[in-house]
């Protein structure tokens, strides 16, 4: 098994301008979320089966929201650890901000569907669950982040068949795409090899 050097590794980051300048800042507006989740049609014809389907979709969205809360907490722990140096710290802050956008979009969708968004846990809970006390280097932080991003991408892909509303299934795909983008950047920064086979996510 390849091991990381004990000294601070040289992280290979692409041009920072490519990171921060070229990326769009698409945000799911409340209107877009409403349209995506088909709330207009739901409001028009809320029968019993639809209500049950909607309740299941709300449940899935709340699990996704829990994942986003954890990701935000993980990046916060990383930023507060003092282990991340610029420009890696800037990338971590950017990725955290995108998870906050995910969080806000999911929260809005859940509320529009009549559900109660799950709350974030105290930061200490995430620290304990993610074993933050074992993080000793920038590489450790990035490896944790990469693992969480890959896990989130696979989770979003894995629940797509369970959505009753195809609009929400598409949103899950879009969220998976963001997490995959995050994982790719982090994996490259760590010098990890890209998957040699296609269709490696959601497999």
């Amino acid at each position: 098994m390849k091991t990381l050097p004990t000294s601070q590794p040289e992280l290979a980051l692409p041009d920072r301008r490519l990171f921060l300048g070229g990326l769009g800042k698409a945000t799911l507006s409340a209107t877009a979320v409403a349209l995506i989740v088909g709330c207009e049609s739901l409001a028009a014809n809320q029968d019993k089966q639809m209500a049950a389907n909607s309740a299941q979709d709300v449940g899935i969205l709340n699990v996704a929201l829990g994942l986003e809360h954890e990701a935000i907490g993980a990046y916060q722990l990383g930023a507060e650890s003092g282990l991340l140096q610029k420009p890696v710290l800037d990338v971590a802050v950017l990725f955290q901000s995108q998870h906050k956008e995910h969080r806000d979009a999911l929260t809005g969708a859940i509320m529009k569907m009549g559900g109660t968004p799950v709350a974030a846990k105290p930061l200490g809970d995430y620290a304990a669950a993610l074993k933050a006390d074992t993080l000793k280097s920038q590489a450790d932080v990035l490896m944790l982040a990469a693992k969480l991003e890959r896990g989130a991408a696979n989770a979003y892909l894995g629940v797509i068949p369970s959505f009753e509303d195809p609009g929400l299934a598409q949103v899950s795909g879009r969220l998976a795409a963001d997490e995959t983008m995050h994982w790719t950047v982090l994996a490259q920064a760590l010098g990890q090899a890209l998957p040699s086979k296609a269709l490696s996510f959601g497999a």
Binding site: G59, K131, G151, S162
Partner: protein, 141 residues
């Protein structure tokens, strides 16, 4: 002689008990396709890492409950985790058969659950189950 309405009232709770008993029996019996396959715990460990660790860990509660010791554990039985009512009241024990049905289609097994992630391939399920069985044995030793 009892009236029809009295008989219906008396049978009501009995009928409910019969339905619940049948449901409990169906949950524990009739293994799905992957439960009878031999699983590869090593492959299962890789599948667990890629498919399950988004929400779960072996030794800590995250979005999902911890998995170490899951074999033989009552569903809804991890202390400190906020289960859905469906899991908390499932009345089943995790074994190869129940885990296979759960991973195949959680909503079909326990309507109202919150996991929703399905493992479509029977061999994948068998391998993940073999891994979970192995880590449960290790924790018991």
């Amino acid at each position: 002689m009892k009236s029809c309405s009295t008989a219906r009232r008396a049978l009501g709770p009995l009928a409910l008990l019969a339905v619940l008993a049948m449901r409990a029996a169906s949950i524990t019996a009739a293994p799905a396709a992957g439960a009878t396959r031999d699983g590869d715990a090593l492959r299962g460990a890789r599948l667990y890492d890629s498919r399950c660790t988004g929400c779960h860990a072996l030794d800590s509660n995250r979005v999902g409950p911890l998995h170490r010791g899951v074999f033989g554990r009552r569903a809804g039985g991890v202390a400190g985790y906020a289960y859905s009512p469906a899991l908390a009241n499932a009345g089943l024990t995790w074994n190869a058969a129940t885990l296979d049905r759960w991973l195949s289609n959680p909503q079909a097994l326990l309507p109202g659950q919150r996991m929703n992630l399905r493992v479509k391939d029977a061999q994948d399920r068998a391998d993940i189950i073999a891994f979970l069985r192995q880590v449960s044995r290790e924790s018991a030793e």
